[in-house]
C-alpha cells in the first residue's frame, strides 16, 4: 500500500461503512452503533498513521494523490495535506467517534439513518480538508450540506425544520456564488496557463496572476461563502437556530468541524489566491470580526438557554480566528489554526456537557438550575475545565490561540493599528463574564429546583468522552509546540506567498 493512498482510505472508509450500514436491520441497534463507532475509530487510526508519517519541516503538500477524473475540463481527484490541513483533519476524525459515542443514549429513533448520515458527513468534512482541486472541494462543500440538513431536521428540537431550512438555503446561496467565482477563476487561469484548470496546486503556482483585474470580486465571492459558514457578523443569524435545534451530536459536529471549514477556506483560498484583495479588505473584515467578538459575547451574556449561550460564544470565538487570519502575520495565522482546533475541543466539550445535563433534566434554561455542584461533582468539574478553556485561561488551550492571535494582530502590517488588538482583548474579558456567570448560576449556590436533587452524575462513557477532549485541552495548553510545529512551516510559506506579489507590485 502506497502511503499516498492513505488519504483516500480516510475518505472512503466512512463512505464504505455507510454503505455497509444499509444492510443492517432496524432493530439491530447495538450492532449499528458499534459498527458506526468502529468505522470512525478506524478512520481516526488511519489519520494517526498519516500524522506519524507527516514531515513537519516540509511546507508543501504531502500524501498527494492525483487521478484524472474529467479530463475534458482538467478536473482530477487530487488530494493531499499540508500543515494547514493536517491539524484540522486530525480534529475531524478525532471528534467524529466521540460524537457517535455521545449520541449512544440520546438518539433513540432511526439510529441506522443517523449513523449513516454522520458517516457521510465525515466523508464530506474530510474531503473538504484534503481536496486539492477546487471542483472536488466544491462538491464536498455542497454534498456535506445534505447530511447536516437531515441530522438537524429529523433528530432536532421543536423548531428544527425552520433551523435546518435556514441553514441549508443560507449556506447554499453563499456556495453558489463561490461556484461562479471558481468557474471565473478557472477560466481566467486558463488564459494564463493555456488550459482551463481548477487544480489548487496549479493555481497557487500561477498565483494572483490568474485573478488579475477581477481579484476583488472573486475574493468577495469566495469570502462571502466562507463568511456565511464561519459565521462572520452579520451573516451569523443561522447559527444560533441551527445549534440550538440540532441534537447534541449535531451541535458538537457543527461547532467542532463545520464552522472550521469556513475559516479553512479563507486560509486556503482567499489569502494565497487573492492576496491584494485580501489586504484591501482585511481592515473591514477585521472590524466585522471584532464586532462579532464583542457582539457575540454581549448577546451570550443575556441568554437564558445554555445552548444558545454556547452558540453565541461560538460566534465570538470564530471572530477571533477571522481576526487572526486577516492580520496575516506568522503568529496570528498559526494562532488562528491552533485556535480552530481549540475551539473545536472546548466548544465541542461545552455542547457535549450541555447535552449531558439536558439528557437528564430535559431543560436548558439556566434559571432552572442552581447548586448542582454537590449533586453532580464530576460534571461540575468537567464544566469548569471546559468553561475555563473557552475563556482562555493560561494553562489551557484557549489561551495559546488567543495569545498568538492578539500578538499577531498587534504587530500586523496589514491592520496597522493597535485598536484591533485592544478591542479584541476586551472580548476575552466578556467571555469570562458570560461563562463564569453561567457556571455560577448553574453549578454554585443553593439548590433551588427540587428536581435537581435526583440528578445522576456522569456515566463512565460520558467521562471517557470528556476525558479524551480534556487531555488535548490540557496538552495544547501546556505544551502547544507539538501541534504548533505541524502548521509552522506551511504557515510561513503561506505568509511568504501572500506578501511576495505585493512586493512585486510595489516595486513597479
Amino acid at each position: 500500500m502506497d502511503t499516498n493512498q492513505l488519504l483516500s482510505f480516510i475518505l472512503f472508509t466512512p463512505f464504505v461503512g455507510a454503505l455497509f450500514l444499509l444492510v443492517f436491520q432496524k432493530d439491530q441497534e447495538e450492532q449499528i452503533r458499534f459498527f458506526g463507532l468502529a468505522i470512525s475509530v478506524i478512520t481516526f487510526i488511519i489519520t494517526l498513521i498519516v500524522y506519524s508519517k507527516f514531515e513537519v519541516l516540509n511546507p508543501n503538500f504531502q500524501f498527494v494523490q492525483k487521478i484524472p477524473w474529467i479530463s475534458n475540463l482538467n478536473i482530477s481527484y487530487h488530494v493531499g495535506v499540508d500543515g494547514l490541513s493536517m491539524l484540522l483533519l486530525l480534529l475531524t476524525t478525532f471528534i467524529t467517534p466521540l460524537t457517535l459515542l455521545s449520541s449512544w443514549k440520546s438518539i433513540k429513533k432511526n439510529i441506522k439513518e443517523f449513523t449513516i448520515f454522520m458517516l457521510l458527513l465525515e466523508v464530506g468534512m474530510v474531503g473538504i480538508f484534503v481536496s486539492l482541486d477546487l471542483f472536488l472541494f466544491y462538491i464536498f462543500w455542497e454534498a456535506m450540506l445534505i447530511p447536516m440538513y437531515f441530522i438537524i431536521g429529523i433528530w432536532g428540537g421543536p423548531r428544527r425544520i425552520y433551523a435546518s431550512v435556514k441553514f441549508f438555503i443560507f449556506t447554499m446561496f453563499g456556495s453558489l456564488l463561490m461556484l461562479v467565482a471558481i468557474i471565473w477563476l478557472a477560466v481566467s487561469a486558463g488564459g494564463v496557463v493555456g488550459h482551463f484548470t481548477t487544480d489548487i496546486v496549479e493555481l497557487y503556482s500561477i498565483g494572483p496572476a490568474a485573478a488579475k483585474n477581477y481579484q476583488n470580486w472573486m475574493f468577495l465571492a469566495f469570502a462571502l461563502s466562507f463568511a456565511i459558514k464561519v459565521p462572520l457578523f452579520p451573516l451569523h443569524t443561522w447559527l444560533p437556530d441551527a445549534h440550538v435545534e440540532a441534537p447534541t451530536a449535531g451541535s458538537i459536529i457543527l461547532a467542532a468541524v463545520l464552522l472550521k471549514m469556513g475559516t479553512y477556506g479563507l486560509i486556503r483560498f482567499c489569502l494565497p489566491l487573492f492576496p491584494e484583495a485580501a489586504m484591501t479588505f482585511a481592515p473591514y473584515i477585521s472590524v466585522l470580526a471584532i464586532i462579532g467578538i464583542i457582539y457575540g459575547a454581549l448577546v451570550a451574556m443575556v441568554q437564558k438557554d445554555m445552548k444558545k449561550l454556547v452558540a453565541y460564544s461560538s460566534v465570538a470565538h470564530m471572530g477571533f480566528i477571522v481576526l487572526g487570519i486577516f492580520a496575516m502575520t506568522q503568529e496570528s495565522v498559526q494562532g488562528a489554526i491552533i485556535q480552530m482546533v481549540n475551539h473545536g475541543l472546548s466548544t465541542g466539550a461545552l455542547f457535549f456537557l450541555v447535552g449531558v445535563i439536558y439528557e437528564r433534566t430535559h431543560t436548558r434554561e439556566i434559571s432552572e438550575y442552581g447548586g448542582i455542584a454537590k449533586i453532580v461533582p464530576v460534571f461540575a468539574a468537567a464544566l469548569m475545565i471546559a468553561s475555563l478553556s473557552s475563556i482562555g485561561l493560561p494553562g489551557l488551550n484557549g489561551f495559546i490561540g488567543e495569545f498568538l492571535i492578539l500578538l499577531g494582530a498587534f504587530k500586523s502590517p496589514v491592520l496597522n493599528s493597535w485598536w484591533y488588538t485592544v478591542f479584541a482583548a476586551s472580548g476575552v474579558i466578556f467571555a469570562a463574564v458570560y461563562l463564569l456567570w453561567m457556571y455560577q448560576r448553574v453549578v454554585f449556590g443553593e439548590v433551588k429546583n427540587p428536581k435537581m436533587k435526583e440528578l445522576t452524575d456522569m456515566t463512565p462513557r460520558e467521562i471517557f468522552i470528556f476525558a479524551a477532549m480534556a487531555v488535548f485541552i490540557v496538552w495544547i495548553g501546556i505544551y502547544p509546540n507539538t501541534f504548533l510545529k505541524v502548521s509552522d512551516k506551511s504557515t510561513a510559506k503561506l505568509i511568504l506567498q501572500v506578501n511576495t506579489p505585493s512586493q512585486v507590485t510595489l516595486s513597479k
Partner: protein
C-alpha cells in the same frame, strides 16, 4: 436516396421506430394479448433504436439527399429521446390503468412522437425540421387529451393545440422568410451564406420568428403560458414526455438549424437569448414556490430549466452547445424520475397530486421517498448528481463567452429554486402523514424510477466520458 449499407445503418433507428409504429398498430388490432405485449414491444423498439444510435454515434454521415444527418450530436439526441421514452413506457404499464385511457393509442402515439423528435434532431433541411415538428406536435396534442372524459385533459389538449399551432405558424413563416432570402432550405447552404445574410433584415426577421416559435416549444418566458395548464391536465407520464422529450427535441432543432449562430455570430441574437433566459429562470423559480399541485410545480421548474439551457445557447460557443446537450441528457432522466414518482403516488382519478399528499412519505414508502429525494436534489443542482454538472458546464460556457452576469443570475435562480425542491423533501421526511390513502405498488414503475435514478447518479459521478463524446462531435 440510400447509397450504401453504411447509410442504411445510419437511418436504422428511424426504420426501427417507423416499423415499430406499423407493427404496433397491427398488434393492437389483432393480438388478443396486446395490452400486455404492446408496452414491452414499445420498450424493445425504443431500447433498440436508442442503443443503436449511441453505438454508432461516431459515424457521421449526411444521407437522404442532404436532408438528414446521422451520427454525431443527433445520435446523442436520439439516445435521449428513445431511452427516455423507454423508461416512460415502463412507467406507463401500471399508470395507464390508474389513469384510465386507451393503451393502444398511447403507445403508438408515443412512438410517433419519438419519430418526429428524431427527424427534428437529425435535420439538415428546414423542411425536415418542420416535418419532424409536426409529427411530434400532433402526437403530443392527441396524447395530452387522451382521456376524453376528464375535463382538464380536454382543456390541456385544446390549449396545447391552439397555442402550438400558432407557434408552428410562426416557425413556418420564419422558414418562408429564410427561404426567401437565402434561396434555399438546406441548412448547410444557409450556414455557409450566414455571414452575408445577417445584413438582410428579412432574413433576421425570419430567424427571429423561427426562434420565437421554438421558444414556445421549449417553454421559455414569455411563451410559457401553456406549460402549467398542459402539464397539469395531461397524464403524469405524458407530462414527463412533454417536459423532457419535447424540450430536447425543440432544442435539437434550434441547434441543428441555427448552428451558424453558435459558431461566432451570436451577437445579433444575444439580447434575445439573454432576456428570455433571465426571465425564464427567475419567473420559473419564483412562481414555482407558490404552487400547491406538484405537477404545476414541476411545470414551472421546467420553465426555469429551459432558462438555464438557454444560457448555454446564449454563450454562443461550442462549450455552450455541449453543455446544453449534456444538460438535456441529465435533465431528461431527473425529470422523468420526478414525474415517475408523482405517477406512482398518484391515485385513480388524479388524486394525491397536492403537496400535502407527500407528507410523511418517508415512513410509508421509504424507497420512493429516497428516490424522490435524489431527483429533487438533482433538479436543485446539488453535487454529486447529474444536475450539478449540467449547470457547471453551462456556467463555464457562459463565463468563456463573457456572460458572467448571466451565470450569476443563473446561480441566484438556482438558490431560489432550492427552496421548493427541498420543500418536498421536508414534507416527506420531517412531517407525519395525515391523509390515509392507498399507494398501489407497481413493480415496473419502481424499476423505471430506479433506472432513472441510476442514470442520474452515473451521469453525476462520471460525466467526463459523455461530455468528451459530445464535445468531439462539435
Amino acid at each position: 436516396m440510400i447509397n450504401d449499407i453504411q447509410e442504411l445503418n445510419g437511418i436504422l433507428p428511424f426504420i426501427i421506430v417507423g416499423a415499430g409504429i406499423l407493427v404496433s398498430v397491427l398488434i393492437e388490432m389483432y393480438s388478443a394479448k396486446s395490452e400486455k405485449v404492446l408496452p414491452w414491444f414499445s420498450i424493445l423498439i425504443f431500447l433498440a433504436a436508442g442503443f443503436h444510435s449511441l453505438y454508432y454515434a461516431g459515424n457521421i454521415k449526411v444521407v437522404m439527399q442532404n436532408m438528414l444527418l446521422t451520427g454525431g450530436i443527433p445520435n446523442v439526441f436520439h439516445f435521449i429521446f428513445n431511452i427516455g421514452a423507454a423508461v416512460l413506457c415502463l412507467l406507463s404499464i401500471d399508470y395507464i390503468k390508474k389513469y384510465g385511457t386507451y393503451y393502444g393509442e398511447y403507445y403508438i402515439l408515443l412512438q410517433t412522437s419519438v419519430l418526429g423528435m428524431m427527424c427534428m434532431a437529425g435535420a439538415k433541411d428546414l423542411f425536415m425540421i418542420f416535418m419532424g415538428l409536426e409529427i411530434m406536435s400532433v402526437s403530443f396534442y392527441a396524447l395530452a387529451g387522451l382521456n376524453r372524459k376528464i375535463l382538464k385533459a380536454n382543456e390541456a389538449s385544446l390549449k396545447y393545440f391552439l397555442l402550438g399551432a400558432f407557434a408552428t405558424g410562426f416557425i413556418v413563416y420564419g422558414i418562408a422568410l429564410i427561404y426567401g432570402t437565402a434561396q434555399t432550405t438546406s441548412i448547410d447552404l444557409i450556414t455557409a451564406r450566414f455571414p452575408v445574410l445577417t445584413g438582410n433584415l428579412l432574413f433576421l426577421a425570419g430567424v427571429l420568428l423561427f426562434l420565437i416559435g421554438f421558444s414556445f416549444k421549449i417553454a421559455a418566458f414569455p411563451f410559457h403560458m401553456w406549460v402549467p395548464d398542459v402539464y397539469e391536465g395531461s397524464a403524469t407520464t405524458i407530462a414527463g414526455l412533454f417536459s423532457t422529450g419535447g424540450k430536447a427535441a425543440a432544442f435539437s432543432a434550434i441547434i441543428a438549424a441555427l448552428s451558424a449562430i453558435f459558431r461566432g455570430s451570436i451577437h445579433t441574437f444575444l439580447p434575445y437569448f439573454a432576456v428570455i433566459s433571465v426571465f425564464s429562470m427567475l419567473f420559473g423559480s419564483i412562481v414555482a414556490i407558490s404552487q400547491n399541485n406538484i405537477k404545476r410545480m414541476l411545470a414551472y421548474s421546467s420553465i426555469a430549466h429551459a432558462g438555464y439551457m438557454i444560457i448555454g445557447l446564449a454563450a454562443g460557443n461550442a462549450e455552450g452547445i455541449a453543455g446544453v446537450v449534456f444538460y438535456l441528457t441529465a435533465y431528461t432522466f431527473m425529470n422523468i424520475g420526478a414525474f415517475g414518482i408523482v405517477s406512482l403516488i398518484e391515485g385513480s382519478g388524479e388524486s394525491n397530486l397536492e403537496l400535502s399528499s407527500y407528507e410523511g412519505l418517508a415512513y410509508r414508502k421509504p424507497v420512493l421517498a429516497l428516490l424522490m429525494s435524489v431527483f429533487m436534489f438533482a433538479l436543485a443542482g446539488l453535487p454529486p448528481f447529474a444536475g450539478f454538472f449540467g449547470k457547471y458546464y453551462i456556467f463555464i460556457a457562459a463565463v468563456k463567452g463573457n456572460l458572467t452576469w448571466l451565470a450569476i443570475i443563473g446561480v441566484i435562480s438556482s438558490a431560489i429554486s432550492v427552496y421548493f425542491y427541498i420543500r418536498i423533501i421536508v414534507l416527506m421526511y420531517f412531517r407525519d402523514f395525515q391523509a390515509e390513502f392507498e399507494i398501489k405498488n407497481s413493480n415496473t414503475g419502481l424499476l423505471a424510477v430506479f433506472i432513472a435514478c441510476i442514470l442520474v447518479i452515473i451521469l453525476g459521478v462520471m460525466p467526463g466520458s459523455i461530455i468528451n463524446m459530445i464535445s468531439s462531435f462539435l
